[in-house]
Symmetry: C2
Subunit: 345 residues, 2 copies
């Protein structure tokens, strides 16, 4: 990938943005390599952690772009996980009303999902991604070798979005994940590359058909209405991959009742998530159910304060057409969550 | 316009954004009228002045949108001049990755120019509109009656963009402005409406062909390379309309030498600007020429630190095609400015 980036720099200067952890592990070296072939490359860092995906960090990065004399021809290279991709992508989206951005995801989660699709943004105290823009990257470089240094919990989180991609669009991929789960868990590069590529293809197809989420793109939200509510209610103490894993189990349970999602598919979903060490039982000790229910009302897909859900018909299949979200009674949501608390699901 | 906005609200809640001056004169009453027909309308204000077109003001408006529970279906109504339109438009562009905005310009400058075209943004200490987005309004309501309360200097400034529209695209409009200059100066509503409509049509045509300023849209920048540099070098103490007036005279002078813009057209341009009480002589006392020259290097159109200019061939005509900007030697720029200082032009 470095060769390709060296040969086809998307702008100049190139401003690499990463958090200080990834800078030390990877981005600083990448910046040096880009400079060594004569490119005008600079590194701008910010403190690691979702709490820094903020308007304040964005402003600090903008001040740095100004210092560097970055104009319309400048390009940003986002090197890191979802936080970095969203923050650096949004910074690119609004600098001089939009400059090029290249995404270099360094987590499995970002490789499978966040780096593609053009959703960028920052969080406010009241909610995630409340301020942002749609801004497509001009290239994505997913290098599975960088996953070697990723902590185990972070690594496992990536499978949540991989499983989601399979559930919404590709029963064969779901089967492949079941078959390859052990090789994937031990970070086998070939299997990883193949799985990531399929996830990116699925997402690219969906996004290309509905770039600004007017309709069908909402299928990517399977599991995410509950996941976002759970993250918000927990004060963002639950990792995104865990929240998506739990969200998928809750929403698949809703789907069984609402649109006949097969119970055996729910069973397969739970087993696969467990195989990747992802949670499928409600974290009773840390999250109050009513707070999650009320947080769903503020979801971006909500209409008139009523939450909407993108639910699958079966593994690999979502309802046809553009009207892919469905309103669900809050009592059904409570029942589904309580089922997971009791461990009966 | 109020009837139309009541009948076709672009979203709900409606959040009117205006500065405190325009709120007292107009926006508060408009908000009350919208509420009186049952719409969920709210007013959010900020202190008047270009210095408040900032990231900080935008953040305060976002916090207010959150308090009001504004989601994806909310819409912003920008009520005011260029500062308000840019700030409120940019706030709309990034709230939940983009909600609807209606522009209600209350200055002649905003009616002729800023309200249309989708350019939004905020200023940094180092320059204007460095952070922003392209975000088209879903409607523009230009009501010439509100111009009655506009201070004379602000009113006159509007003619700078009107004259610009004529120079870049419509020799007939230029003639009409010459003929109607007295009626326009005394704010004759019919003549104003006709002239504003022609300006909006010109801009709409240009913008429709090149929404994100990849090529031909740059013709709208005639006079603006120098105007922006002048504003920056003066610490934004010169009103935009004055800067554009001076910018057009300087750039038309460059055009005479560079591409044969007729000297008699330069004479007509100067006379028309004077008729609207707009400045055509260099403000030697307040601005250092070298600071203006160096500010042009940081212009958004600059390539490799060299300023580029969108210059007319004659009144009503710009060069054909998409390559509409031209590099000009800084020595020629200095000479053109010095000509205006000496009053020889």
């Amino acid at each position: 990938m470095v060769e390709d980036l060296c040969a086809h720099p998307p702008g100049h200067p190139l401003v690499l943005i990463s958090d200080d952890t990834v800078a030390a592990l990877y981005a600083r070296t990448l910046c040096t390599r880009l400079s060594s072939v004569g490119l005008d490359a600079h590194l701008a860092t910010f403190p690691a952690g979702e709490s820094h995906k903020s308007r304040e960090t964005k402003a600090a990065l903008e001040d740095r772009l100004f210092e560097l004399g970055a104009g319309r021809e400048a390009a940003i290279v986002a090197v890191g996980g979802g936080v970095t991709g969203d923050l650096a992508g949004f910074t690119a989206a609004t600098w001089h009303r939009g400059i090029a951005v290249v995404q270099v995801p360094t987590t499995l989660l970002a490789m499978c999902d966040a780096a593609l699709g053009g959703k960028t943004g920052v969080d406010l105290a009241g909610g995630k991604n409340l301020v942002g823009a749609f801004h497509q990257p001009s290239a994505i470089y997913a290098d599975v070798e960088v996953l070697a240094t990723l902590p185990e919990t972070d690594y496992r989180c990536g499978f949540a979005e991989m499983v989601k991609s399979a559930v919404i669009a590709d029963a064969d991929l779901f089967g492949a994940l079941e078959d390859d789960r052990e090789a994937l868990a031990r970070r086998d590069p070939d299997r990883l590359e193949r799985a990531i590529e399929r996830c990116l293809r699925i997402k690219a197809e969906v996004v290309a058909g509905d770039e600004r989420e007017g309709g069908r793109r909402a299928i990517l939200n399977f599991g995410h209405t509950v996941a976002h509510a759970l993250e918000s209610a927990s004060g963002y103490s639950i990792p995104h991959g865990h929240a998506v894993s739990l969200g998928m189990v809750v929403e698949a349970t809703l789907a069984v009742r609402a649109i006949g999602f097969p119970s055996e598919d729910l069973g397969r979903l739970e087993r696969l998530l467990r195989a990747f060490d992802l949670p499928v039982r409600w974290p009773t000790a840390t999250v109050v159910v009513e707070q999650v229910v009320s947080a769903t009302r503020r979801d971006k897909k909500a209409r008139g304060g009523r939450a909407r859900y993108a639910l699958p018909i079966r593994i690999g299949d979502m309802p046809a057409g553009d009207a892919v979200t469905l309103e669900i009674d809050e009592s059904d949501l409570r029942a589904a969550i309580q089922g997971l608390e009791a461990g009966t699901a």
